[in-house]
Amino acid sequence: MPKWFQPATLLCGAMFAISPFVIANAPYESTMGLVQKVFYYHMPSAWLFLTASVVCGIASARFLATGNPRHDRTALAAAEMAVLFGLLTLVTGPLWARKAWGTWWVWDARITSSLVGWMIAWAYLILRQYGGPGSEKLAAGLALFGMANVPFIYVSVNYWRTIHPATTVVPKLPFSMGFPLLFCLAAFYLLMFLLMKLRTRVAEQQARLDAIYLSLDEQA
């Protein structure tokens, strides 16, 4: 791993350790009270889920265009990130909604399209795992659909009737709420970057291992 990886990991760990104190100092929201503080982990998870889906889609498009396995490895790592952060979003959201809305789940456009996006990321990984030779190109095609779903997820709250907060909430946040959000967002993005690096490294080493086994077969 590169030299900067360890200090960056320590910085990320420190940011996550500090984040509960930053969040505890944020004011309560007037209508939802204490439970609204789920927002400071829920929203970064959701943004990372969308970012990972876009990264997966772009890397897949570049892999389909160039055939370079480096892009394929990036897409695979990003798909895992989309599954991980999508899961965090889809679990923390209902925990917040149970108190704020009185229900665990509503089939509105935002939540349903997020669930669809998460299932596309799962489908990508399942296809990669069990699809056999050539499945990486099929999976790359699937990733393009996952990426196409992202703008729909983002704007859905502005066009369809829902009780999910609108996208205008974040730009209108006062500094006392905006700073904890930005802090958590920075910690989550740094974590995703480090996890992507680590996961890409696993894929590189796996490719190297496969090449060694291939050369052993040829020697035998």
């Binding site: 439970v35 503080k37 998870s45 149970r98 108190k99 974590l191 696993v202 080493q205 060694i212 020697q219």
Partner: protein, 93 residues
Amino acid sequence: MRNLIRTIAVVFALTMQVSPLAAQTQPKQQEEFTPVDQLPPQEQLPAAPLLVGAYAFVLLMLFGYLVMVSRRLSAIQSEVTRLDADLKRAGKG
């Protein structure tokens, strides 16, 4: 025999005194159900377990994933090192 009768009389007298107290602690019998829009504050779902649950889930999942990927990486790297050494040894031999 006289003691037994006296004991029964005392127990009976005590029971008669306790029973109105027991009747006082019992909730009033409901004759109809009255709907309300809002739960009283002591009945409402507390936010803290949901909040703590959300944060704990996020941190546990992230840590679990980090451990899983690190273990995969170290397993693959050790296998690569072993096979590289085997290949070099076979080349020399």
